[in-house]
Symmetry: C2
Subunit: 106 residues, 2 copies
DNA sequence: TTGATTGTTGGTAAATGGGCCAATAGGTCA
DNA sequence: TGACCTATTGGCCCATTTACCAACAATCAA
């Protein structure tokens, strides 16, 4: 078993991924580093909102940023986070399977 | 890229894991199904609080529950969620590495 | 320097999350 | 049946999150 303190640290990192906008940003950065303006263009949100989401990802060490000319470029630092989504997909598939069983029984 | 709707579904599952108590419950259930009273005993929390955390895990399909005599027994349905923590650890190690660099520069 | 463009920060309101207590539901067992 | 035990649900309060707008900082061009 892990300690409670360790669980707090882990949950903070997981929390950073626990938002649809931040998930999409991570997915997008899998393709390579991207400028803020490109990331911003993915969403129908205020600039400041997207900036704050990126700040959360930076704080937890999932992405980093650097200036490049006029742009701010964001880079995914931990590519393995995407492996994890395979597990999330497994959860979803498991749910679908169980729902089908429910439907059959009715 | 995934759709926004898909990202919402995924983030709901990730959210279910984004709490230290729920992480510890998942860790505990890796060892096998456990009665509510055993899970409850891990924490210094109200019964109702632990019950609500388990409810969140049930809703997302991460655990299931069944009655066994007087007890309610919880089972981890998606063992792969634990693989994912390897990635979280990678994020943590990456953070430590970068912090050390910072310390060296100062 | 001035003006335009780009991204961050501060403030605030609404929504969500997490804790406890009290009440309830659903079993078990004498 | 009635008393008891176990887990869940409802209600409430406080803290956090997330969105927008507005103001600010920082950079590039003229």
């Amino acid at each position: 078993m892990i300690t409670f303190e360790e669980a707090v640290i882990r949950s903070n990192i997981i929390k950073a991924m626990a938002h649809p906008v931040r998930l999409l940003i991570i997915e997008y950065l899998k393709e390579g580093p991207q400028a803020f303006s490109e990331i911003f263009g993915l969403f129908d949100l205020d600039k400041s909102t997207v900036s704050k989401h990126l700040h959360v990802l930076k704080e937890t060490g999932i992405v980093t940023s650097r200036k490049s000319g006029a742009d701010m470029v964001y880079t995914l630092e931990v590519p393995c986070v995407t492996d994890f989504f395979g597990c999330v997909t497994a959860v979803i598939e498991n749910n679908v399977r169980r729902q089908q069983v429910c439907l059959c029984k009715r």
